[in-house]
Structure formats: C-alpha cells, structure tokens
C-alpha cells in the first residue's frame, strides 16, 4: 500500500459499509498484527500472564447454555480492551463473537495480570488469553474424538459444534461443558490458529460497552446500587501537610440522615442515608474542622527554577556518545530552556468506589487500573489479610493513568468499616479530585547543541529535571493510597524510583531519535518534591518531545534550513523519514514559507519510546495577537505503527491524543500557592472546549510486512512542539514554557 493511500479525513460521513470500520474499540488490534500478539511467547514457553495463572478454568468457562465466560486480569478503561480480548477468545475457540461474556476482574477468581496501562499490557493479556483459549479448544477436541470415536485430526469446529468430516455424528462445546474439562493447567504444546485463518481478530466489531453507556444502562461504578447502601463523602485537609487543630462534629451529627462521622487522624468522612444529605454533611464537616497550614509548596511562578535548583537530585547519565575522529568542528553553540508544569488527569467523572463488609470479607468495587495491586495496599492500610479483601473492577470515567481511583477505594473501605460494614458508595467531589489526585510531574529541560559549519548538529547535551511518574499502589516499601497517609497511625508512600528505558519514566523519549555524532542525556531525578505525582499518559515523553522538537526547529532556523529538511538530514531511519515526508506532503508543506504574523504552521516528530510508533504532526494555527490566544485550526498527522489492522481504531486513538495534547499545550497547568493546590474546578483548570478543538487529518502508513507497534498515546507528546513551532513561524517568537496561555503568548509578542 502506498503511504497516504490509507488516509482518512475527519468530518467525513459514514456510510453503512463503513459502520464496521467506525466500530473500532480495538485498542489492541489497531496496531498489532494478530499473529504477532498471539505468537509472541518464547518457544516452548507460555505467555508470562498464563504461566502465572496456569489453570485454564481461571481464564475460561464453557456453559451448557451455549456461551463462554471469559475471566481476564485486564480491565476496561474506556478504550475497548474487553472487546478486543473477547475477539481473541472467540477466535481461538472457534465460536461466534456473540457467545463470549467478558467478566470484570474479581480478585476472588480472576487471573492476576497486574495493571492495565498502555497497549503493551493488553498485548500481554491477549497473548495469555489466546493460549488459554487454544488449550481449551484442544481439550474439547480430545474429548470429542473419544466420544465420536474418530481421530482428532478429522475434527473441525464451527461455532462450538465439533464434527468429523467423515461422520454424521457431532458434539458441541455446550454438551461437553458438564464434564468440566478445563480444570487443568495450560500446556505449551498447543498450536495457535494460523493468522491466515482469522475471522474475528483484525476485524472491527462494535465495542461491547458502548450501547449501555449511550442509553443509561448500569455501566459505571457510579451507577451501582445495592440494598441498604449508604452514601459517603470525605473531607480532605486543605493542603498536603495541614494539621487538624480543632474538630467538633456535634453540628454534623445532628444533621438529618447522618449515620456516622468518621475521624481517624486527619482523615475525615461522613456517611448518610441520602446522597444530598452526605453532601450537606460534608459542607458542615468542612466548617467543623480547623486546620493549621504551613508554607510547603514552591513558588508556582518560579517552578522551573525551583526544579533546576533542587539539591536533592539523583543524577544519572541516561545516554552518552563521544564524538568520532571524523566529527566536524563546532562553530556555534546554542542553548534552550524548556518547562512543562504539573498536569492533571482531570477525569470528567470524579473517582468513586463502593465498599461493604460481610462475613469478614471486605469487598470493594473500584475502577482501579490494578485490582490486585490495589488489594495489596488496601491490606496494608486496613490491617486485613489479603484473603479477606476482594476487589472487583467496575468501570469509571476515563483515567489516563493513575488518578484518584485507588484512593477513593480506601476511603470507601474506611467509611464502610465505620458503619459496621454496611455498603457505602463514595464519590469524590470535583475539588477532591483536583486537589488530591497525583499529577503528571513538572519538568525542566535544557538543551545545548553545537553546530558545524554546514549547519549540522555535532553535539547534543540534554539535562532534564523531574520527579517520578510511577507512584501506583502495590509497590514495595510503603502504601500509595491517600487516606493511609492521613490516619492517626499513618503509612508512608513508597520511595520513588525511575522506570528503566526504553520505556522510561521522566526520561521517556529524553534520548532524541536523531543521529548526532556526540551526545549526553542527563537526568536529575527529584524524588523529594512536595507535590503528589504519578503516572499520566505518555509520562515524561510530553516534556521531552516538546524540548527536543522545539529546539530542532530553532536550530534549523538558525542555520537557515527548512525544518522538514533539517530533521530528515539528522535521521537515519527510513521509516522516520517516511512519516515526516508523509505529513509534509499531506499538509502541502512549502519549504521556507513564512507565516504572516498571525497564521503559521509547525512540524514535529517522535518515535514513541524510541522503539514504538512513529508520528509526525503539522499544526496550523492562528494567533490572536491582541487577546493572546492561539487557536489550532488543524492538525495533520502521519503515523507508522507497523501493520495496521483496523485503521479507524488507530485514527481514533491518534485523534484523542492530539485533542488531549492540544489541551495540555494551550491551557493546562495545575496551580498552587505556597500552601495548597488552587486548581480546584474546571474554571481554575480549564481544558480544551468544543469550539477550540482542531480539525484533524490523519495519514496512516501501512507496513504490511512489519510487526505492529503499540500506538495508544504516541501522538500526544509531539503536539506542543508542533504548536510552538507554528507560533514561531507565524510570529518569529519562541514559546519555551508550557502551557501557551494568554500571559505567555502576550509576553512572547512584546
């Protein structure tokens, strides 16, 4: 397929025929060759998730009624994971997709597959489930062969009906179900279906979770109702380190419907019969508590300086390369400083959980990304044994990483405990979510490049200052749940540590994909910063790509080169060059074209995690110089994610990433004063609105003969540099600090 021939334009209308394509949901498959997913186990070895959970009936159950129950350790995060997994199960078992019933993760019986985060972990889940299903099919065939008295080799399966070519006899999976054939361990001698025989994997099926969500079905943990359920709300301290100096709950207790007021250290909560009563009680409880706060946060306005000046940094060289004998002499040195603030997950639905205790078992329904990991920290925080805690996944609002989902689960557990284990549903209020979620870390970046006489880059020195992007629950050495830190007997968070490359944490994509004769990338890891942080989509790649791609643009301009040509000049990888050429083509890039003071366009490029999807973006922007507002009119994207299985699925993910990335770039920074987080609602933390969303045009480069690469968030990190470079093209000014709000835009223009 010719690059670009797969292009799709937004704003198109769908015909009936295209329905299937629109029905993507196939996060798993949009970018992965099916065989590459299922065939990834080492020869003779089982996929790791299956090795860890070998019993087949922990993955699948075949029911006499004619359906297959699938238990997975992966959760639905609103991207179609469960639909993709259902396709795999149906494929390997040779049953109709409609027969598969996906069961949410339940730690009482589901396989433990750790977190669901990023396409790679779904890849692992798909692989394990595929092998389990293939094993199950083999066992069923064995049983059928004995029953029918024919050799296994003569059997075929059509939607669960097993028959032999020569014989009239047949037997179905559903008839064999009662013989509980799956109570055994998976073996590794079962061949997987050949990819050429796939009927379901690789096709786009409508997402299983969507119809209920669009018609008011019970789709989310927020929608759960159980008999006798009470409503809980929490009252958090006003700031991270605030001390409770006085507390009088008499007025709260006297309110109608209040069942319990909870205080444990500086953890405060209320339980009421009706939800609005819990809200009213929360408001009174807030006034009933007197807090002592102190100055504990850095100066928001000088955050970049604060990061760079930290004396607590753990300094590591992430990558280094010394100049070779033929490296040309440098004639010029340039430096650029860049900054990315704290960014919030800012889920539309505040975090929520339902907890109840019965028969000494604490059950928690949660939209966590890691039910088993949450259980580990719940056990530590509550003092219960693991076996006495059951975590069941129920969907929530999109999370984009580690938000308040896990924290509210402990809140609900603590409040349920206070009312003798009665079921308590707790939803955070908007200000709880903004004030207490773990943000994506702030980052400061400095690049220094040396240029040769011909304009090429001969040396690249990069320094990065940032905090952890991984403070999820379930890690050793502490408890990563908010309420646990506030109890009278408080727990400590785990010591922050960096995630190894190529994935990386703060240093994700800190090593440029360009080919420089000499370079050094240094990370200053700052584990003692006072603001709560953890995983947020694309981790450090957003800040790093902003710095690298902005500076590449600046260097190109310094030597009078076209930014497209300059990038190509420094790349060796043909696929990287191809996406840059494709996006330039698609956007009708004119080398040397200057903006007119208000309109401009900029390019940027990224190979996500240095080993995954290639993305190049061209941003077309309009600058309102008086108002100081940048409007992104259009984003053109080109992506190479290897073999494309469902183009619409990948387009969907790229589109979502570009919109979220544009929002981060133009608008988003968590605000705080010296004591507390002051971004507490959508007015103090605005995100991109409908009129501000760019039109998006995507070119997908299909690589039918190359393995598929994960693609979920690859288009997010290159967004801010594309916009900043477009701003330079329009106005001749550089934007080096995120976000590009009014003040920064106006300051740049004066």
């Amino acid at each position: 397929m010719r690059p670009g021939s797969n292009a799709r334009r937004t704003g198109r209308t769908y015909s009936r025929r295209q329905f299937g394509q629109a029905a993507a949901g196939i996060v798993l498959f949009f970018s992965m060759r099916p065989g590459a997913i299922l065939g990834q186990s080492a020869p003779g070895g089982l996929p790791a998730d299956l090795k860890a959970n070998r019993r087949l009936d922990s993955w699948l159950r075949i029911n006499a009624e004619g359906n297959i129950e699938v238990f997975t350790g992966k959760v639905e995060l609103g991207q179609g994971n469960l639909t993709a997994l259902a396709q795999i199960a149906a494929e390997e078992l040779d049953v109709a997709f409609e027969r598969v019933r996906m069961r949410p993760v339940d730690t009482s019986h589901s396989p433990d597959e750790s977190y669901t985060a990023g396409s790679a972990s779904i890849q692992a889940g798909g692989s394990a489930l595929g092998y389990a299903a293939a094993n199950a099919r083999a066992i069923l065939l064995e049983l059928a062969a004995a029953k029918l008295g024919v050799p296994i080799g003569s059997l075929t399966v059509d939607d669960g009906v097993i028959s032999s070519s020569g014989a009239a006899n047949r037997v179905t999976y559903w008839q064999l179900a009662s013989e509980t054939p799956l109570a055994r361990n998976a073996g590794n001698d079962v061949p997987l279906k050949s990819t050429s025989k796939y009927r379901i994997v690789g096709t786009s099926v409508p997402r299983l979770d969507i119809p209920a969500k669009l018609t008011g079905g019970e789709a989310y943990v927020q929608d759960m109702r159980v008999p006798g359920m009470l409503f809980g709300r929490v009252v958090r301290p006003p700031s991270y380190g605030a001390r409770l100096s006085a507390f009088d709950d008499t007025a709260v207790k006297a309110l109608p419907g209040v069942v319990s007021v909870v205080r444990d250290g500086r953890f405060l909560g209320v339980v009421a019969r009706r939800e609005e009563q819990a809200l009213a009680a929360r408001a009174v409880l807030q006034r009933a508590a007197t807090w002592t706060t102190r100055s504990e946060l850095p100066d928001d306005a000088r955050l970049a300086h604060f990061l760079r000046a930290s004396t607590d940094a753990r300094v590591t060289t992430v990558s280094s390369r010394s100049p070779g004998p033929n490296t040309p002499q440098a004639v010029k040195t340039l430096t650029g400083n860049y900054f990315k603030p704290y960014v919030a997950h800012a889920s539309i639905g505040p975090s929520c959980a339902l907890a109840a205790v019965s028969d000494r078992i604490l059950t928690v329904w949660s939209h966590t990304q890691g039910p088993y990991q949450l259980r580990i920290d719940l056990a530590k925080a509550t003092g219960l044994a693991l076996d006495n805690i059951r975590v069941i996944h129920a969907q929530g609002s999109g999370c984009y990483g580690h938000n308040g989902a896990d924290d509210v689960a402990l809140d609900a557990a603590l409040l349920s405990r206070a009312v003798d284990g009665a079921p308590v549903k707790v939803q955070w209020m908007r200000d709880d979510e903004f004030g207490w979620e773990p943000f994506g870390s702030a980052m400061a970046m400095t690049v220094q490049a040396k240029l040769a006489g011909d304009g090429s880059i001969v040396d690249w020195q990069y320094d990065l200052w940032s905090d952890s992007f991984n403070m999820r629950p379930g890690l050793p050495g502490g408890v990563n749940l908010l309420a646990a830190w506030h109890l009278a007997q408080p727990f400590q968070a785990t010591p922050p540590s960096e995630i190894p490359l190529p994935s990386g944490g703060a240093d994700r994509n800190a090593v440029p994909y360009y080919d420089f004769p000499s370079q050094r990338i240094t990370e200053h890891f700052l584990p003692t910063l006072p603001i709560r942080v953890s995983a947020l989509r694309s981790l450090g790649a957003f800040g790093n790509a902003f710095a690298v791609e902005s500076f590449m643009d600046e260097l190109a301009e310094t030597v009078g080169a076209d930014p497209v040509e300059y990038r190509l000049r420094h790349l060796r990888d043909d696929r990287a060059k191809a996406v840059i050429r494709a996006v330039a083509d698609r956007a009708h890039w004119q080398p040397g074209a200057k903006g007119d003071g208000t309109r401009g366009r900029g390019i940027s490029f990224l190979r996500y995690e240095s080993v995954k999807t290639y993305v190049a973006l061209v941003a077309d922007i309009v600058v309102d110089r008086t108002a100081g507002v940048i409007r992104v009119e259009r984003m053109t994207a080109a992506a190479d994610a290897g073999l494309i299985v469902t183009p619409d699925g990948i387009s969907n993910q790229i589109e979502g990433s570009i919109i979220q990335g544009t929002s981060w770039a133009l608008k988003e920074a968590v605000r705080f004063d010296r004591e507390r987080i002051t971004s507490r609602d959508w007015a103090s933390y605005p995100i991109l609105s409908f009129p501000e969303v760019p039109e998006i045009d995507i070119v997908l480069l299909n690589r039918p003969d190359l393995p598929s690469l994960g693609a979920g968030e690859a288009a997010l990190p290159p967004v801010p540099a594309a916009i900043a470079n477009a701003f330079f093209n329009a106005t001749g000014k550089r934007l080096r600090d995120l976000p590009f709000g009014r003040d920064r835009v106006k300051a740049a223009l004066t």
């Binding site: 937004t10 704003g11 198109r12 209308t13 769908y14 009936r16 329905f19 629109a22 029905a23 993507a24 609103g78 991207q79 409508p206 997402r207 969507i210 119809p211 969500k213 669009l214 018609t215 008011g216 079905g217 019970e218 789709a219 989310y220 927020q222 109702r225 109608p256 009706r274 939800e275 609005e276 809200l279 889920s347 539309i348 639905g349 505040p350 969907q395 929530g396 609002s397 999109g398 984009y400 939803q427 209020m429 908007r430 969907n652 589109e655 979502g656 990433s657 570009i658 919109i659 979220q660 609602d681 959508w682 007015a683 995100i687 609105s689 409908f690 009129p691 969303v693 039109e695 998006i696």
Partner: protein
C-alpha cells in the same frame, strides 16, 4: 424539611419525598434509579448531569427539585433503549462516539435540545451548543459527526 413532590420523568409521574433544594440529579439517580445523568462537577461547569426539563437542557446538579414543577423531565433513558435507540443514540453508536463515555449523557441531551430548536445546525452551531460540555477523552470530533449525521437523518 422533606416534602413530597410530584414530578413527571420520561413520561411517568413520580412522587418523591426530599428537601425542595435537593439537586434534581440526586433524585433522578437515587430515587428514580436512573443512570443517564452523571455527577461530574456539581458546579454547572461540565454538563455530565444534563437532562431536559421542559424544552431546555438543564444542569441537574444545581437545579433544585422544587423548581421542576409540572415541566416534563426527559433523561437519556427517556430517549431510547439499547433495542430501540433514539436517532441520536443510534448515530453515536454508529460513529462509536464514546471512549470512556462518561460525558456522553451530556452530549446527547444537549444535542437533543439543540436539534429540537434547530433541526439542521451547522458544524459551528453544534460546536457552539456544546461549548460548555467537557470531554476529557478527546472524542469531540466523533461527537460532532454523530450529531451531524443524526440531524441529516444519515444514520441507517
């Protein structure tokens, strides 16, 4: 003080006993067991809680029960079902216009009120009508396309 109110929701009369200043959202969700309207902010900022009261798309998180009076209330459930979806719901499903879907109640209900007063909106008018509805997943363009398709009757 709790009082008893009679309200008409999705064509059915209900009697609800609650404080008059209870936000309609909690009555719809907890007394009537409806899931469509969602709590997103409680501050009139996001639109997740939208229902139609009378002819208007209303943010039920701040709309008191006592203010409903005799105006008919329509929620997402009142539009259609999985088996018989409303043209807007159909269009959203056809376009797979949801990632997490938490915002979508607000999108569909706001679109419903828009199409009721302006059956053929331009794309700009659709974007404007949704200007105060927030989506975090970046589903905006699909949402707009779904509404365009529903308005054109272009959904099979």
């Amino acid at each position: 003080m709790p009082e008893t109110f009679r309200i008409q929701v999705n064509g059915v009369e209900h009697s609800v006993t609650a404080d008059g200043d209870t936000p309609l959202l909690y009555v719809l969700r907890n007394d009537l067991g409806l899931n469509g309207p969602k709590f997103g902010c409680g501050l009139e900022q996001c639109g997740a809680c939208t229902a139609i009261v009378g002819a208007e798309a209303i943010r039920t998180c701040v709309f008191p029960l006592s203010a409903v009076g005799s105006a008919p209330v329509v929620t997402l459930e009142g539009l259609g079902t999985v088996e018989e979806p409303h043209p807007l719901q159909k269009a959203f499903i056809a376009e797979q216009a949801a990632q997490c879907g938490y915002c979508i109640n607000g999108m569909i209900m706001t679109a419903k009120a828009l199409l009721d007063r302006n059956p053929r909106p331009t794309r700009t008018e659709i974007r404007q009508a949704l200007a105060r509805n927030l989506c975090r997943c970046g589903t905006h363009l699909r949402i707009v396309r779904a509404i365009e398709n529903a308005a054109k009757g272009a959904v099979p």
